[in-house]
Amino acid sequence: MTTNKPKLVYTTYIRSTPKKVWAAITEPKFTRQFWGGIANISDWKKGSPWEHRAADNDLYLTGKVMEYTPPQRLVLTWADPDRLKDVSRVTFALEAVEDMVCLTVTHDQLKSGSKMVRMVSWGWPRVLSSLKSFCETGKGLDIFAGR
């Protein structure tokens, strides 16, 4: 990641289908199983709000749906609810390759040197590793204690 215009790009290959990986990211009953108990809550219409909220109702992140094209492309704006003016952007791009999904997450428009940059640098590998394990083995990874 360059330091002047931070952008994170993470690619992983998952033995699953785009529909299943899409459902894992967008349906709370699946998302909670691999994303530390937190889900992505939205009606998924373009322009609608999106919340990253735990089952105990704690709000971790918020933003808007910029694009929702299942099961290929999801684009969200992304902000800490306590720092709403620092808005970045997350794109999930899913491609079917034989019996796999090539999932690329791009997180850009980040503020250089910010706490968010530090958090997502480890956050994305952690969450996407857990997503891959969930899709391939039925179980996410227990790596979210003490977030």
């Binding site: 360059t2 290959y13 033995r15 492309r73 394990s133």
Partner: protein, 166 residues
């Protein structure tokens, strides 16, 4: 000049010992590394070789040297990029690969760093596995599948160009 490097981290439900074996043993690597066998003398100054599968000898043997070895925790080796003469002129030193393994309870964190790279080593086009940035995620994804499910990902064709760009 900004230095070019590639970092990739993943978390695998396995032990550092099993991950280390998969990373350093050719019988494992040929399952997840496009058929390539890794051969390592696991000590500082030892040889490193990545040998292509039969029929792909033109892909070359990326030979290098082990710089650091801490079993089940850290491995550092040099990687010969097999440059064209033009690119070789620009490369001041061999590229270097670092594996770091960190136990985290029932899982192991694996961090890979590939440094001393040139801009030419990064390929923007994701429709093939060419380029350090395209190759490593595929190899490491396949390694994770092998360790967690018993089956690696057999890549026979690369990612098609994304249907929607930007």
């Amino acid at each position: 000049m900004e230095k070019t490097e590639f970092v990739y981290a993943t978390v695998i439900r396995t032990t550092p010992e099993k991950l280390w074996e998969a990373l350093t043993n050719g019988d494992f690597s040929e399952k997840y590394w496009f058929g390539f066998r890794i051969e390592l003398d696991l000590k500082a100054g030892g040889k490193m070789r990545i040998i292509p599968p039969p029929g792909m000898e033109d892909k070359g043997d990326h030979a290098g040297e082990v710089l650091e070895c801490e079993p089940c925790r850290k491995l550092v080796y040099t990687w010969n990029m097999k440059d064209t003469p033009e690119v070789a002129q620009k490369r001041k030193s061999l590229s270097r690969v670092t594996y770091e393994l960190t136990p985290m309870g029932p899982v192991t964190k694996f961090r890979l760093l590939h440094e001393n790279l040139l801009p030419e080593d990064i390929v923007k086009d994701s429709s093939s596995f060419r380029g350090i940035n395209n190759g490593w995620p595929a190899v490491i994804s396949s390694l994770k599948s092998l360790l967690e499910t018993g089956e690696a990902i057999a890549f026979t064709s690369p990612c098609a160009t994304a249907t929607t760009t930007k």
